[in-house]
Subunit: 410 residues, 4 copies
């Protein structure tokens, strides 16, 4: 059985895709708070005649049964980011949300998850229109909370894989700042594992004019942050990609009080377990050692989130790659090295015990020099060919697996 | 004309002093928001039959005229601090306030201004009781917003010195963690000048896994803070006391986003203008230079507050010192070197064009080893002899000046 | 014409190899001062009946003509390192040499160039013994001064390629701390390019007790070194191997004088030109910026040495790899990624306009955990199978190329 | 008995003083190597008919007995510094010496000890000329090795105080960059105590391209130096003068080897024992803690030299001050605060169990703005009034004590 030719979008589908995307873009929501987004997805599915159920609060799952055949899971993540949009597009977000610390913050679909949602619903629409070309079962997974690494775990914990037919493969895609219209895929490791630590630095409070009576946790925290740089610069093999980022540093309430504590986060990206272990150990050694240097109490280190590397099953990735190449043309598809970003996508396949494949599709104006990337306040993928490419690629990949009689899990 | 003997407190006065102090301590208010505190002071004055008026919103001023004679201004500051009290006393504060950035914070009389208020009202009560011993005019100034360096300026701007008889001298006192019952005074420079700068470090936002696409303002801010240490350690003459404190550092919202900016405060203490100029120039040079090191945009440096050194007029200080020594006994009074803390008290005398004198009275348990100091969450002066000493000292000093026919301003 | 089978060493050859190696190891010489080493090589060649000439002072070149055929150049580098040997072997070096700054220093063959010399003379001996198996010309190049990146340039400048028949290929090998008996080779980029900078930090001299009258170049240099860490940790793409090492830092003569200057070296390793340019620019930006931070004069930055990446010609490398695999067996030979070390070997082929191939052979005890590497004072390759493998590998590679009628240069 | 009037120099004495000074200046010698200097002093003494003996190798001691009376010891230190003179005077030094590490270095009388010698021999000459004005015993102590803090100890250990009549007081003076012609003296603490530590940082050697296989002692040493800044900036009370200087840092031999160790010195200046203990403990805590941060072996910390604060006996200082004031005129003499420089002068009086007094005389051109100080390569005191003032001051102080019948030791 060969894969049927990949469908293109009808003008109506394309127009609807754009409209739906713009609505999603204008109204992003913070991680695990995707209430309105979930409702919009439900309404969209309902308009196609597809039933869905909630999973993990703001997750939405749809199962489309179309006779005997493989079960293919397609995943889109749905959350936005706490950042102020500066794209200047007329459908830019002005929405705000409540961060976990209770403060109100601007929200933006700065990572492009809105494209993922719209492309997945559109791919479903295209596949439903050509229902006679395939048989089997589609499972569409609209996953919340990817940015905080909680959504995939939460859906699995809420019984995702017990509540749907067990898939043979899990497919996902992510927009990035490569040229719009292109698709790239890593064969094997695809994205970094990530670990997040929260360090609470304890000092000793004193009046700002009498530092000798206190222990300054801000000077100490600054020393820790400076010394953390040596992990990548001196300790990790130069051939092993590793990133150690302090994304947040906060301490103090008043300029003339040396505070009792300061707090910072450490986010780590690595591609292998040994390097991950090495970096984690080094972070702890440096943080604890610097506190001794300062004569300060032992700092607290909370390892509050972790995601394993995202590994594309080599066989499944090769097959999917070929299917996409066939759909888009070889000149638009290429193999890439692993990316240092992280995803909780890999957990879905891992927990289901089946192969998974993630690829990237372009979201930057063709020819743009140094285009803004994900998490930039200026990240604004052009509608086309970005959205049609995302929808067609997902449809093509799904169609391939729906047409594949037997999949060797591994 | 000799100074009459210093009155002691009656048992009732002492009991009332304690009660009033505890109420003030339980209900601190943030700077320039001392609404209920002002009402409590007004009520207290009214209960003595003393009229008062508001000045600068939450400032309270009372004028007590008692015939011909000198005009003596007595000042107490009235605001609390944004910090969580941990003293464990049964009259501890559980109150909260709204910080200038809109967040709700705990509030504590962590600097002991509650003792200043209660001692000043009690001194007035003692002097009123012995009204026949002196003639002249007392001006009691209850000043808000000392902690933010705004209150004295605000009262002067609101016409303080036009609305009361021009004083011959301004007297003030501050509790500190020296042994309760003692008084210390510097002859000449008494407290440091202070400058506060807000530094906004500009980076370039990027995903935390792709630092090479951004400029990390947190690593940059940490480098600035580390380098600021060299001002005191290498640039300022070791004989010249100087303090450079970064009391607040804030940057980043999410562990996996390298933020666009970070912000920190720099608080500077110096005792002379040349050293002040040297340190200010060095802070600016270091902050701007480090941004160049990082290839980052020029940081913004906002010099948002400054207070000159507090200088005790030498002649007036010597006279006041002798009066206090006479009242408390020589073994409880001593001369001290300047303190690195700052005050806006000095502005009051400077703006009135008259000498001013500030002294410190003890607020630490006798014999305590390393007692908590001002701005410590554990700062809890014992009621006695702290409060009686503060009240008697202020009364004695006032009485001296009311008995001094002619004061040479200088 | 097929490559003849690779010869093994006779017992006498092996014994002589060991003896010659030990003598070389016991008497290392510093770069460009390899006078006795050159004499030893000349004597060894003479004992085989091979004439040689000097090139670039301490370089030795031998040409062995054996009828018509290809010309194959084989290169060994000959210099030792200024370091104290701690291997404990009974043929360890106790020799000393005079460093370029005039100080006397211990010298050690810490990089294993002694193995390169002994394996090359032995390979010649093996090939001469089997002279009937091949025809063509061998050019043996014993190159001085590899450690300082000067020897290859010096030999070319001294007319190397004008004084010998033009080679069709240049072959070289290097011992490393992989298991003795194994060989590894990169296809394409094989070793990093390297740049060395000397930074002279200017301060202002003062007595150590009066830092405020000077500018401290040691504190400044330390800040520069700390900040250089951020190039690799924050500025370079995590996928691009890059190393920035400060190998030498010197400043000051006396503990109580703040010196007028300090000096440090920066050694950079990169695999591509864009990353090299990025790192060089960042080093300069940081060094100059930090001097501004300190209010110090502009530092001097001398870019005193540079070597391009060592690139193995892909076709030539594949051929050589196969020849070695055939000689040693597939299980002992493997492909590797580029190394971050640098070599001036690549200049020889580049200047001759012909392909060149460099590989590595093992010098660590089989099964050793974390064996000492090149430039470690404990680096002591076991005599066997290290030396026989090096000799046989070089002979096998040479024999392949001598049997290859036509080489496409590229 | 009143002090006789202070003698002035004759034209011949002045001319001789200048000549002798220039010879000394042109030929400085390193600490504890003052062989030619000692011979010059001996010859000078002999030319006055004064016998002398050697003490501690290069120390010279002369005893001048002139009847009954007090015994007054006068001390001059004699060593130069390892630095290149840049004064441009026509009697500048071009001499070189051998440093303790065996390297040859330029030598300069950069601390002005040449003025001390010449002024002391001239004072002796003046006092000998007026021998009838006083009776008693003069002990002239020409002490080597002040710059390394060894000379005073060495002379005491070599029996100084057993080999001369026990003095009633020890007097010394030092030139500095205050205006030539002036004298300053501290009453009480006069100069800082000093402690010198040598820190050996242990890393793990590796090739510069493979930092992950080593531990970088230069990056570690740089971190230590940066963190040492926080002792003065954050840990020591701003009112307590303290200086922590790293005068020497040395590590590495070659730009492409990460060395096994690095070494630096820490020089500490403090005025009290508690602050000294605090700073010493902080240095050790920081150095050891940073090694833990780096996962490096425990560093060695050698506390190789220490000198206590130089304390002028209060009574003896006041008397001496008055004598000098009387000789030079009140406008040229003033009281100063303690200096952060250190001396081993204090050990002489301490070991003899008698009071000692040290003062400073000016060596800067009158009106010079920011004149070069001691240890500057540009330090060049004008011959006059520098030298005459030094000679007359020493003579006047000696004459006072020779005329003082009874001295209370304390």
């Amino acid at each position: 059985m060969t894969t049927p030719p990949v469908p293109d979008l009808t003008p109506e589908e394309r127009q609807h895709l754009h409209q739906f995307y713009k609505v999603l873009h204008t109204h992003p929501e913070l991680s695990m708070q995707e209430y309105r987004t979930a409702e919009r997805i439900e309404a969209e599915l309902e308009s196609m005649g597809v039933e869905s159920f909630r999973c993990a609060g703001t997750g939405v799952v749809a199962v489309v049964r179309n006779g005997e055949g493989p079960v293919v899971a397609l995943r889109a993540d749905t959350d936005g980011l706490p950042m102020l949009e500066r794209t200047g597009v007329d459908y830019a977000s002005q929405d705000r949300g409540t961060a976990s610390d209770g403060t109100e913050v601007p929200v933006m679909h700065g990572c492009g998850h809105d494209t993922h949602i719209a492309c997945l619903t559109t791919a479903l629409r295209m596949l439903l229109r050509r229902r006679t070309d395939w048989s089997g079962t589609l499972v569409a997974v609209f996953q919340p909370g990817e940015e905080v690494g909680q959504g995939a775990r939460a859906m699995v914990a809420d019984g995702l894989w017990e509540r749907v037919p067990r898939p043979d493969v899990v497919l996902g895609q992510h927009v990035s700042n490569q040229p719009s219209g292109t698709v790239t895929m890593a064969i094997g490791p695809a994205m970094a594992g990530t670990d997040s630590l929260r360090v609470t630095v304890h000092g000793k409070q004193a009046h700002g004019s009498r530092p000798h009576l206190g222990i300054d946790p801000i000077v100490l925290g600054a020393a820790m942050i400076s010394r953390l740089q040596t992990i990548v610069s001196r300790e990790v093999d130069a051939h092993e990609p590793a990133v150690v980022t302090v994304g947040v540093f906060r301490g103090g309430l008043k300029e003339n009080i040396i505070p009792e504590r300061a707090e910072f986060t450490v986010n780590i990206r690595t591609l292998t377990e040994p390097v991950r272990d090495q970096v984690l150990a080094a972070v702890k050694r440096i943080v604890r050692g610097e506190a001794e240097v300062a004569g300060a109490p032992v700092p607290e280190i909370e390892h509050y989130s972790q995601l394993p590397p995202t590994i594309n099953n080599v066989d499944a990735a090769k097959q999917t790659y070929q299917a996409i190449e066939q759909a888009l043309g070889a000149e638009l598809v290429s193999v890439e090295r692993p990316r240092m970003g992280s995803e909780d996508f890999g957990l879905l396949g891992k927990e289901a015990g089946v192969p998974s494949v993630l690829w990237f599709f372009g979201g930057a104006e063709a020819g743009a020099v140094d285009p803004p990337g994900n998490h930039s306040p200026f990240f604004a993928p052009p509608l086309e060919p970005t959205l049609s490419t995302g929808a067609r690629t997902m449809a093509a990949a799904a169609l391939h697996w729906l047409s594949t009689p037997s999949i060797a899990h591994g």
